[in-house]
């Protein structure tokens, strides 16, 4: 059945009723649809390929193999969890957008050719921006437009790359790209924009925290992870990606310290965590690619959990700045504990999911003897633990009591967080079933004595540094400029200056034309008033003009 029913297509069609259904029936469909799609992708046999001829081009809209299936499973699963979290939201547009967004993400990872990939890639952008705009604030509209412009640019680069690839190879199959050439670079840059790799990353921490409470959860899952998938598919073993990934891990953690908004802090940690995956793709070994896929799987779960926790705080208190929060553990204890499960997972705390996936990528670097990569990734782990698991919860739920006494988050939100937390824990203690669905079979055991000791040393002594410097680590009521400054200030000024220049130049040209026109008009008026054309002409002059006309007739007549 799965061979003729494309899961992404089913999800897209299934999204439409969400716009009209109301109340309980909408909620039931919101839960049933992702479960149906999850069943469908689980039933997809490894190795399924569906090809069809379209306008003389062979397309592969469905390719299910080890690498695409693990992403398909987690996409369907997170749509289910995210929909539970969003059950109380009475906004059909958001539900339709989230489902279309998930469907296009699913379509992109199952695409076997570049045209199908491109189509889903663009639908992903158009549907996801509504999750930002439906916050219905000026800041969200503006951030949404910036998001759209950057992704439209990425889409154009991808299309240009695909055309270049087709002209060069005559094929549209999505397979690993050979090094060099315009197609290689255009497609790589398009993928890196969606992976939020610096210097093309600023759209992510700019837009995600402006999205709706429930929208951010979906946003954190699909765009960057689709990018990780396409990088793993198209660019495994590209050395540049190792260093770009390492830069991302450190860039993300450093900026996460600088920001005051809790959802922006977590958004910077998406950049950081995707950095591990990009570096894993760059390393390119079977262990590294499997580690990347495993980390994408666990990351989607714990990052959704963290953003659900932060979103629940925003929903219940109306605040998201560290400087305005504090002491919430008494009124939102369940949210606090579930958030901490996400925090321990992202920090690779033993028994939680990040430990069994992140360490795979670091191990892959160690196996290859990449000392600097190993040390820098370990350092990023220190920063992750400090800001996500210590700083954010300390200044939100513990620390200074801000006097907020909101009710605990609604039951459906707690259930969604509970399921994500349970999965984080189950993967942490029983990694075997995650390892069983990896693209390459790996012989890797996270729970060796050496791993455990080193990880515990890392986390405990990071904690020591945090608590010793607790006094200076609180959020600052500041805005931290990032590279989006370049297009928000000088870029905008340049565009405005160009517009003003065009307006001035256009005005000057019109003015000059009108001046000449008026002069000509004045001259004719003057001529008419002078009576010169109407005066009586002497016969000699008439004879001269007649001779000239006859001479011209002769010249042109001879020319014929």
């Amino acid at each position: 059945m799965a061979e003729w029913l494309h899961p992404a297509l089913l999800l897209m069609l299934g999204a439409l009723p969400l716009g009209v259904l109301q109340g309980r029936s909408r909620q039931v469909w919101q839960l049933a649809l992702p479960l149906l799609v999850l069943l469908l992708v689980v039933a997809l046999p490894d190795g399924t390929r569906v090809t069809l001829e379209f306008a003389g081009v062979e397309l592969t809209p469905l390719r299910a193999d080890g690498l695409s299936l693990i992403f398909a499973y987690i996409f369907a699963l997170i749509l289910f969890i995210g929909n539970i979290f969003a059950l109380q939201v009475d906004d059909g547009a958001q539900h339709v957008a989230a489902t279309l967004y998930a469907a296009s993400g699913l379509g992109a990872v199952l695409a076997g050719d570049l045209i199908t990939l491109y189509v889903f890639w663009e639908i992903m952008m158009i549907s996801s921006v509504w999750l930002i705009w439906r916050r219905r604030r000026q800041a969200a509209y503006d951030a949404g437009f910036r998001y759209l412009i950057i992704h439209a640019l990425g889409g154009m680069l991808l299309l240009a790359g695909i055309i270049a690839y087709w002209l060069h190879t005559g094929s549209l199959a999505f397979e690993p790209l050979a090094g060099g050439g315009p197609a290689f670079w255009l497609i790589l840059v398009a993928f890196l924009i969606n992976a939020a790799a610096p210097p093309l990353h600023a759209w992510l921490p700019d837009a995600y925290p402006e999205a709706t409470v429930t929208g951010t959860v979906f946003l954190s899952a699909f765009t960057t992870k689709t990018a990780v998938y396409v990088l793993a598919r198209g660019f495994p073993g590209t050395e540049l990606l190792v260093w770009l990934g390492v830069l991302m891990t450190l860039y993300g953690v450093t900026y996460a310290f600088l920001v005051n908004d809790i959802r922006r802090l977590l958004a910077y940690h998406i950049v950081s965590q995707v950095g591990y995956m990009v570096a894993g793709v760059g390393l390119g070994s079977a262990l590294a690619i499997s580690g990347t896929a495993a980390h994408a799987f666990t990351h989607i779960l714990y990052k959704a959990l963290l953003l659900m926790g932060a979103g629940a705080v925003l929903q219940m208190t109306g605040r998201s700045r560290l400087t305005e929060l504090g002491g919430l553990y008494r009124s939102m204890p369940i949210t606090f504990l579930l958030y901490m499960v996400g925090g321990l997972s992202i920090s690779a705390f033993p028994l939680f999911s990040g430990f069994v996936s992140k360490t795979m990528i670091i191990e892959a670097a160690a196996v290859e003897g990449r000392a600097v990569v190993f040390l820098l990734m370990t350092l990023a782990g220190v920063g992750t633990f400090m800001s996500t698991t210590l700083k954010l919860p300390w200044y939100t739920f513990m620390g200074r009591d801000a006097g907020l006494r909101p009710p605990e988050a609604p039951l459906n939100m707690r259930v969604a967080m509970g399921i994500a937390a349970l999965l984080c824990f189950v993967i942490g203690i029983l990694p075997g079933w995650l390892y069983a669905i990896l693209p390459y079979p790996v012989d890797y055991n996270a729970y060796t004595a050496s791993h455990l000791i080193k990880e515990m040393e890392l986390l405990l002594f990071t904690g020591l540094a945090f608590f010793l410097l607790l006094g200076v680590l609180g959020g600052k009521d500041k805005l931290s400029l990032d590279l989006d400054w370049f297009y928000r200030v000088p870029g905008k000024q340049a565009v405005l200056a160009l517009r003003n220049w065009i307006v001035t130049a256009d005005g000057a040209a019109r003015g000059a034309f009108m001046r000449v026109f008026r002069q000509a008009e004045d001259a004719t008026t003057h001529l008419r008033l002078s009576g010169w054309p109407l005066k009586s002409w002497p016969t000699g002059s008439m004879a001269l003009w007649t001779a000239i006309v006859l001479a011209m007739l002769l010249v042109f007549g001879l020319g014929r």
């Binding site: 160690a366 513990m398 405990l460 904690g463 805005l479």
Partner: protein
């Protein structure tokens, strides 16, 4: 609601015992480093694999370095008033309004 209150009470009890928790953590740190010293390293891939407690020192110093780095970047380069962008946009709107009022 019952579960929420019970959880809050458990957390409150833990907060009351902060001193005990602190000593437990310090004890745990000592224990982990001791195990690292006593147990010979399983790996010899990097020069530091044989140094007991290397990861602990690296994490502690790394944490301090990251904090120093972010403070330097923040105060030296990127911190602005929270309304930096909105104020800029606002100024533009005002300027435009004045312009159109003049015109």
């Amino acid at each position: 609601m019952k579960a929420v209150n019970a959880t809050a009470r458990v957390l409150d009890a833990l907060v009351q015992r902060a001193r005990l928790l602190r000593w437990t953590m310090i004890g745990l740190m000592v224990l982990v480093v001791l195990i690292d010293i006593l147990k010979p390293s399983h790996y010899s891939r990097f020069p530091w694999d044989g140094i007991p407690g290397f990861t602990a020192v690296y994490a502690f110093l790394g944490a301090l370095a990251l904090i120093g780095l972010y403070k330097a970047i923040g105060y030296g380069l990127v911190y602005r008033a929270p309304d930096y962008y909105t104020k800029r946009a606002g100024r533009k709107v005002e300027a435009r309004d004045e312009e159109s009022a003049d015109g």
